[in-house]
Amino acid sequence: MSAPKTIPKDAQVMIQILKDMGITEYEPRVINQMLEFTYRYVTTIIEDAKIYATHAKKSNVDADDIKLAIQCRMDQSFTSPPPRDFLLEVARQKNQTPLPLIKPYTGPRLPPDRYCLTAPNYRLKSIQKKVSSSAGRISVPRLSVGAVSSRPSTPTLGTPSVQSVTTKVGTPVSLTGQRFTVQIPPLTINVFTFATPSTPAVSNVLINPSLIGSKNILITTNMVSQNTGGESLKRKHEDDDDYDAL
């Protein structure tokens, strides 16, 4: 396929702009990027202006509508950092407070849990879907402090055999607690011996065998390592993919 003999006028304008701004080295795709941006920006502004014009019950879009559209877009997308005097003022206030003393021997120094990303970011749905791997691991819900417990299950696991097992048991009771709670139906013991197709995702799931047999169990484990279980799933996958890619 042959390249067009003449560059379209818009592209020529872009080339001229780059030249005027003193940019001499650029990839050819930059022109396309600029054209796309220009097109998108202008159409957005004009569309907004049309909306404002109809809102003001005008039949034609006029300069004021455009100005308003530009102004609104600027405030929304193209914000600029705060002005200097504001920053100086905020800085002055912040710098007045003395540096807080450091408490000794506190383990990993992290902000309160609310501001960390260490809480589990998923909730397990129902207990019927529970499956264990031959390693004897089972997924249990890990709950954050103060959260309502949910019924344990894992979305990745679900074999009919397990379903049938657990239905014999009856629906497990969903327990609420203030501490970390896990619920495992007592019959889980049998489930362990099942040879279930374990995907890599399952094998890393947390289990605490000592929980068997009780309905309301406390897991007082470190938040960080708790999270490992959930996220390591994903991470393991990525590592595998990584190896394949290499």
Partner: protein
């Protein structure tokens, strides 16, 4: 503060209230000059063309009259007040001036004391409004005459004696920019363009980039989003001129027809006068280049504790004690306390060192102590470098990065290397044969024997062992990376405005620190851990602690983005390099700026403190490495040689060699001991800050090492003084 932005309205050129030199009310006049601009005297014309304010022409007139009214009232000219009010037909309460920025109006409203004006908002800007109008009057020369003023000044300066000419020529650039910006701000587009074309070619070559940006600004609206330029307009450009030259200039400008320029100079320039010989062109060139002129002398006078903190006493294992004692401060247990040390460090408190508890620092944990012992053992095996004993360089090339490698860091013991990429991932590799492992899950941790000796090995999950790990979480290119000194954490800062803390034991993200809402260009952990600093596009650098979700300190003062942030070895100071071509040194204790270093001609991308804490090296896009004495606040050396941006600088472990890596695909080694050697501290004319830089870059250059089309973006000296370098192969 800025006043509420509002155009001051019209005036006739011959109003009798003008020509009130607002030199004394500089701060007000300066800031309000931005917004309280008057238009060119055109009798009867309505609101300024293209004004963004919603106020119609009539209300702007009213504003002017109101301002006059307030002024009269303030001066207790009650009769005049009455007459004016009657004649102008002003109602008791005036219109609310519309402020574009409610934030600013809030600030100004709170700052002014109770005013006696009838309206609330107008009361807030009582003071500034008057000054706005009046200063605007005094400012407003005829725009067409700006060219005449400038040419007149040019002719005068060209006619003075040689020795003064160099100094007075410093005035050209700031004057040019300010006059141009005023023309643009007042919507005199054609005059602005003509002015620019005529005089932009005369400016110094190192201002070329700024001038290019200026050439694209032709309307007032263009200026609005450009915070850097707005800051430039409101801040004073600092010039350091000798008293004799200053007298010359003053005398000339105070002549009758040069009043306008004199006003403009007084408004926008701060002339720091010193007694002494006028400086030569080369001296001036060395120090100038920043967006805000040079640094005032007082800015660099604060005392800086640049010494190092005393190393803590560690119970050394008995067999190694004799070896270690040499390198350790503090008193070894078995030896008698000595007054003068075995090494060069003194046992007494270094007067230039901060006290141990000046800022709170975390105490050493057992693992930290073990680390320090390892450090000392390695230090004994360290190679002593020198001009005749250059380090070997081991280069780590990132292949297939497709120009996406944006940040690299090594751990202090060189066991891990981390890379930040434009695809928003962070990858960690193990440099040693030891693989990266994650900590076992909670259930497994319960099963291991906690009393065993190798418990630290047992907690690791062998199944997760791999050469590298990928950390995903950011939503934009990762521009800054930093390992913590204890190798437990990794920080990464990105274009998405957050700084993330990752655990290197679970390889998951622990915290996202949100504060900058704009790209964060650099971040670094403090040498003692716990604190870290980040700097970004919002022109501030912030100091955080890992256990606070908000910053502890905000270092605000730069006029443009903060591109590089580094801690001083004693963790009490932070150096920030910025796009406004200055380097500032901030005190962690109270957030004050204690040093301002100007001289670079381009944005600064690399900073390095010398291991003894006394000196700072900086590299920028102009390809020069500048050396600064922190205690005196002066430039002490200039290393020319690189031809492209310098992205990395590092001193060797004992400070003898300075290595610099740049975009021109080379690593250069410089003799740091020699560069700092010739400094006689008494020799400094610290009063005037004159520097006599020798042009000895060639002698100081010890070696240039080319890479194969790989820009060098990180340098690291191992504990034994082997130089490691990293960059992405870019064919």
């Amino acid at each position: 503060f800025r006043a509420v932005p509002d155009d001051g309205g019209l005036v006739d050129a011959d109003e009798d209230k003008d020509i009130k030199t607002e030199a004394s009310n500089d701060s007000w006049g300066n800031n309000n000059a931005n917004d309280g601009r008057l238009l060119s005297p055109s009798p009867g014309s309505s609101a300024s063309a293209g004004s963004n304010k919603s106020a119609a022409g009539a209300s702007e007139e009213q504003q002017t009259l109101l301002a006059v009214l307030q002024f009269l009232r303030k001066n207790k000219l009650t009769e005049s007040v009455e007459i004016l009010r009657r004649e102008a037909g002003l109602p008791e309460d005036s219109l609310e001036p519309k402020g574009a920025d409610s934030l600013l109006s809030r600030v100004t409203a709170s700052s002014t004391a109770g005013a006696q004006a009838p309206t609330k908002v107008a009361a807030g800007e009582d003071q500034p409004d008057v000054n706005v109008v009046l200063s605007a009057y005094s400012q407003q020369g005829d725009p067409a005459l700006y060219e005449v003023y400038y040419s007149g000044l040019k002719r005068f300066i060209e006619s003075v004696l040689d020795c003064h000419r160099a100094e007075l020529s410093q005035v050209f650039y700031p004057l040019f920019v300010h006059m141009y910006l005023e023309l643009v701000y007042n919507n005199h587009e054609s005059e602005a363009k003509a002015f620019f074309e005529k005089f932009s070619g005369d400016q110094e070559c190192y201002y070329e980039d700024d001038l290019r940006v200026l050439s694209s600004l032709t309307k007032k609206e263009h200026m609005r989003g450009n915070e850097t330029l707005l800051d430039f307009r409101t801040s004073k450009f600092v010039l350091r001129i000798s008293r004799d030259s200053y007298q010359l200039l003053k005398r000339h400008l105070q002549e009758r027809q040069n009043n306008q320029i004199w006003n403009i100079i007084q408004e926008h320039l701060y002339i720091d006068i010193f007694d002494g010989m006028p400086r030569s062109k080369s001296q001036i060139d060395a120090m100038s280049g920043s967006l805000a002129g040079e640094a005032k002398r007082e800015a660099n006078k604060a005392k800086v504790y640049y010494g190092l903190l005393k190393e803590p006493e560690i119970e050394l294992p008995l067999d190694d004690e004799d070896e270690e004692a040499e390198n350790e401060e503090g008193k070894p247990k078995k030896k008698k306390p000595k007054k003068d040390s075995l090494g060069s460090k003194s046992k007494k408190q270094d007067p230039n060192a901060p006290s141990q508890n000046r800022i709170p620092l975390p105490e050493l944990k057992d693992s930290d102590k073990l680390d320090k012992i390892m450090y000392m053992k390695e230090a004994t095996k360290r190679i002593r470098l020198g001009p005749d004993n250059l380090p070997s360089i081991c280069f780590y090339s990132f292949l297939n990065a497709y120009q996406g490698l944006t940040a690299v860091d090594f751990t202090d013991d060189s066991s891990l290397i981390a890379g930040g990429f434009a695809d928003s991932t962070v990858r960690v590799w193990s440099v040693t044969p030891k693989k990266l492992r994650k900590v076992k899950s909670a259930a497994d941790l319960n099963l291991i024997d906690k009393e065993s000796d190798d418990v630290l090995e047992r907690i690791m999950d062998e199944k997760t062992a791999s050469e590298s790990k990928i950390l995903c979480g950011h939503s934009g290119p990762v521009y800054g990376i930093s390992f913590s000194p204890d190798r437990n954490y990794l920080l990464s800062s990105s274009e998405d405005g957050t700084v993330r803390l990752w655990s290197l034991q679970t390889f998951t993200c622990l915290v996202g620190y949100k504060g900058h809402n704009y790209p964060v260009w650099d971040t670094q952990f403090s040498p003692h851990g716990y604190y870290f600093v980040s700097g970004g596009h919002d022109r501030v650098a912030r100091l955080w602690a890992t256990d606070h979700y908000q910053p502890l300190r905000m270092f605000s003062g730069h006029l443009a983005d903060v591109t590089c942030t580094r801690f001083h070895p004693n963790s009490n100071y932070v150096a920030t390099g910025s796009s406004d071509r200055t380097i500032r040194l901030w005190d962690v204790l109270n957030g004050n700026c204690v040093r301002i270093f100007t001289g670079h001609k381009g944005p600064i991308h690399a900073l390095a403190f010398s291991p003894n804490g006394k000196f700072l090296a900086s590299g920028a896009t102009d390809g020069r490495v500048l050396l600064w004495d922190i205690g005196h606040g002066l430039m002490v050396g200039e290393l020319k040689g690189h031809t492209d941006t310098i992205y990395s600088l590092r001193f060797s472990r004992d400070g003898e060699i300075l290595a610099s890596g740049s975009m021109d695909n080379t690593v250069r080694l410089w003799d740091a001991t020699k560069a700092f050697d010739d400094l006689e501290t008494d020799d400094f004319t610290a009063a005037t800050g004159h520097i006599h830089l020798q042009d000895n870059s060639q002698e100081l250059l010890l070696g240039t090492y080319m890479t194969k089309s790989t820009p060098v973006i990180h340098l690291h000296f191992t504990r034994r003084n082997l130089l490691l370098a990293a960059g992405a192969y870019n064919p």
